[in-house]
Every structure is written in structure tokens, then in C-alpha cells.
Subunit: 210 residues, 3 copies
């Protein structure tokens, strides 16, 4: 398992930075002040894992044990203020980094639940919470209906990635290969979904009835 | 206590399904996609108990220990998409199921706190959190001011139910009788409140002063 | 440490009451009913400490161990309904009480994290969460973008107070003196920020790009 961690670690750092930066842009759209930008960056990047750990009773939380993660994510959010005017040029890079974040966080979250010997369904859910909940908190704090529930194949990518990871580990394949495969498939799925504008059918219900 | 659980169990399943279905309708009003509908169903139905357990440090959470609850509530939410057009015909049934949910969740939540030997006030609050917080999370995720704080005797019903339950158990009555009484009184109170449009006085404050 | 607690205790009670009262006014602006007012008062006053404890795994929570705090804060919120019409006359007093709350909660939160031997950065963050998160929850439940992220030097005051407190304790000064100093500096900083309308620069980002 430490080997797996080592494999995922650099990608996780990239993912944290990417999530913090997208949060900073959302904060800028709400005209938050600099400290608010830094805080929203930390909360978005680290919130998914924190909620997972509080739900599973898995203490201490990652950032409590490794407080430098607060500096990394808060710093990345602040740095985004300086480069925001160029961000639209790097729009594609951002989408790719965010997709990497989704997939990597999912695998890490599933990994945590597996190390606690949770049942398979909880492992998938733990991965999904880790990958997706940070963005939900960001949207709630920005007073939006969370994008996660409305648009794009985001949670679906997380579920597919989690299932692949768990399936591979359960069938006794080498963790390195399983991670590589889950990562590749998840990332491809997410990028195709963005590129081809795949969407899940929506449930439109209109009624005065409470 | 296992006997009590057995008594409440079938009602709790009905309550979970009812809460998931009302959440699905709320999701449909926000045009969420199918996976969003399923997720909002799970979060609404299981959120109250989860918040209670995290506040009390009562691990593992119910759905983590019994993951099939995620399938039950997510499935109920998805099924609602198919039958939404007929739902208005069953409006009254929905209100009754939701009321059953409120009362049953309250008793179950109070029960959990009692089994932890919490003080009486905490037992009432634990019941109220279990019964009411799922709806609060649903409203926050749908970007509404929670109904709980604004309208209808909902939390009040939960408090009365909880007090009856605790009072009966504390005075040494048989759990079966106490549960039946608390259930009957709570449910009647809630249905009367809906029927007769009972409301608590509101606090209307209007000022520019922050 | 018990001595420190004794020193902070009366101020903490004042702070809880102040936070519950400002929450009641926010509830009144949303026309919440009386029970909603009481609940928002409890959640706002006790929410910051609760989130800190859940993040750190520090059980039992303060109000679970001392349930009378629910009566104090809920009662203060209810009392506010009766005196709301006079509140604008006491606007300044409110701002001072709220500032006291911010500083006292920060010191108490930092204290909790120190007693758990958390690293220094986590101690500062624990203080900030305790001082600031209650107001964030209040704003989310009132369907506003949290003020904390947008305006006023609020979190900044919390950080400065926390740093002073930790610095003093770490350098071996007497806790009484450190608390008095951190309290005085934090309160002065906050009141000057209000009086002189100090603000942090804002990050304004406008773009259609997601």
C-alpha cells in the first residue's frame, strides 16, 4: 500500500493545486477577498477527503496530519489571482488537470476505504465522495446549485474509476497496473465526456405540489 | 433494544423510501440529472442520521454498516422519475409517508442517543437532528432557505415525539407501548398540523442594519 | 489549562449569547418561525466549535457534554425576537459583543487544538474555524454567500489572535498574560477594522469560461 501511495502522491499534489485554482476562479466570480479565495481553495481541494474521513470515522484527517497541504492549496488559490487574466488561454489545461484530480482523488478515496476493510459499495462511495464533494461544498459556499447534480459526467466517471480500481485489486492484479488502468480509463472517459458533450438524461419535474 | 429495533425496522424502510422520493421531486424541480437525483435521494434520506452520528461520535454510520440502504434510497429516488407524472394523485399518501418518516426517524435517533447514555436534552436533540436535518441538507443543495426554519410544525412534531418517547422509557414503561404511543401522537400531531395549517408565529425583522 | 478555561469561561458565555442574537436577527430577515430562530441561534453559536471537533476527532462535543449551552443560545435567540425593535439602538454594542465572540472563540479553539498537541498551523486553523465557521453556516442556511469570504477583516482578526496566542504560549509566557494580550490586540484590531472600514483587496474575475 505505501508503494501505491508513492505512485499516486505526485498526481495528488497536481490534483490539489488544480482544484484549488478552479475554486479560486469561482471565488473571483463572487468577488471574494484574498483570504476568502485562499480559504475556498483549501476547502474545495481538501473538503472531499475531509467529508469522507468524517463519515468513515477515519482520523486524523490528511491535512491535519500534513498541514503543509493547507499552504499548498491556499497558496495555489492566491497565485491564481495573479494569473487569472491568462487563465482563459489555459482553459484546456485546467480541464485536464481537474479531470486528473477527479480520477486521482477517487482512487485515493477508494484506497482509504479498502484499507479500512469497508464493503465494496462503501469503497466506491468513498471514492466518489473524495472526488466530488469538494466541488459540491464550493458550489454551496458560492450559493449555486451544485454542478455535480446537474451537468456533465462527473460522478459517473468517479464511479467507473472506482469500480475498475476495486475490481482489479479484488481480482489480485498488481496495484501498479490497476491504478494505471483505472487512471487511464477514468481520465479518457472524463475527457471524452467533455469533448463530446456527453450528458446524462435530466429529470425535469414541474409542479406546484410540494 | 434489539426488539425495539425490530419493531421500528419496517417503518424505517418505508420512511427512507418516502424521504428519498420527496428528495427526487425536489431534484426534478432543479432539473438535476439521473445520478444527481439518486445522490440527492441518498443524502436526504440518510443525511439526518449521518449528521447525528458525526456529532455524537457514534461510528460506524448506519449506511456504512448496511450499504444496501444506499441502493434502497438511490433506487427509490430513481424510480420516482418514472412515476413522477402520477405523483400529484398520490400527494396525500406522500405527505403521510413523509410524516411517518419524521416520527420514526425521531424515535430511532433518540434511541441511538439513549443507548449512548446521553443526557435527556441531547436525546431530544438527537431525535430532532435525525428527523429533520436530511430535509435541511436537501434544501441547501437545492439552493433554498430550509423549509424547516420557515414553515409548518415539523421540528415541533419531532420535539414532542422525542419528549414522549424519552418520558415513557424513563418512567419504565414497556418500549413497545412507548414507541406505539409516541408514533401515534407524533403522526397525529403532524397530520393535524398539515390539515389545519397550524403554523408557529414568525419573526419578521427588516432592517438595513447588519 | 483549567485556569485558562476559567478565565475564558464568562467571556465565552457572553460570546455565545452575542452570536445567537445576531443569528436571530438574520433569521428574522428571512422570516423564520420561532423554533427556526432558536435553532439558527444554536447552530450559529455552537457550529464553529462543532465543526472543529468533528474535523479533529475531538469528542464529545462541548454542547453534547454541557447541554445547557443549547438552552442558553436558543433562549438568547428567542429573547431577541422580543427586543428586536430596540436592537438598532444597540447596534454598536452588538458589534462589540460579536467582536468579543470572534476573539474568545478563536482563543478557545486554538486552546483545544494545543491540548491535542496539534502542529502550530493546525492550532491557528482550529482557532479560525471556531471563530468563523458558525457565521458561515448561518449564511449558508440563510441562502447567502458567506460574508466571511467577501467582506471585512474577520478571518484575518482570527488569524492574528491565534498567532499571538500560540506565540505567547510557545515562548513560555504565563497563559493569563498571553490570553489578555491576544484578546486585547484581536479585539482592537477588529474594532479598528470596522471603524475605519479596513478591507482586504478583492479578487474580481469575470468570465464565461467555466
Amino acid at each position: 500500500m505505501p508503494h501505491t501511495e508513492a505512485l499516486l502522491f505526485p498526481l495528488a499534489m497536481v490534483a490539489l493545486v488544480a482544484e484549488a485554482m478552479t475554486a479560486a476562479l469561482a471565488a473571483g466570480r463572487r468577488n471574494m477577498d484574498w483570504l476568502g479565495v485562499a480559504m475556498l481553495g483549501c476547502i474545495t481541494a481538501l473538503g472531499g477527503g475531509s467529508v469522507r474521513d468524517m463519515l468513515l470515522g477515519h482520523y486524523p484527517l490528511w491535512w491535519v496530519q500534513s498541514p503543509y497541504l493547507l499552504l499548498l492549496t491556499g497558496g495555489a488559490a492566491l497565485a491564481t489571482i495573479g494569473i487569472a487574466q491568462f487563465v482563459h488561454r489555459f482553459h484546456t489545461i485546467f480541464l485536464i488537470l481537474d479531470a486528473i484530480g477527479l480520477v486521482v482523488f477517487t482512487i485515493m478515496g477508494a484506497n482509504v476505504a479498502m484499507s479500512m476493510n469497508q464493503p465494496l459499495l462503501i469503497v466506491v462511495v468513498a471514492g466518489m465522495i473524495t472526488g466530488c464533494v469538494g466541488g459540491v461544498i464550493r458550489d454551496v459556499l458560492c450559493n449555486d446549485v451544485p454542478l455535480l447534480f446537474r451537468a456533465e459526467l462527473y460522478a459517473s466517471v468517479s464511479i467507473v474509476t472506482g469500480l475498475l480500481y476495486i475490481g482489479g485489486i479484488t481480482y489480485g492484479l498488481s496495484p501498479d497496473i490497476v491504478i494505471a488502468a483505472a487512471f487511464a480509463v477514468g481520465l479518457t472517459f472524463r475527457l471524452l465526456a467533455i469533448r463530446l458533450k456527453w450528458e446524462m438524461p435530466k429529470f425535469v419535474y414541474d409542479s406546484e405540489t410540494k
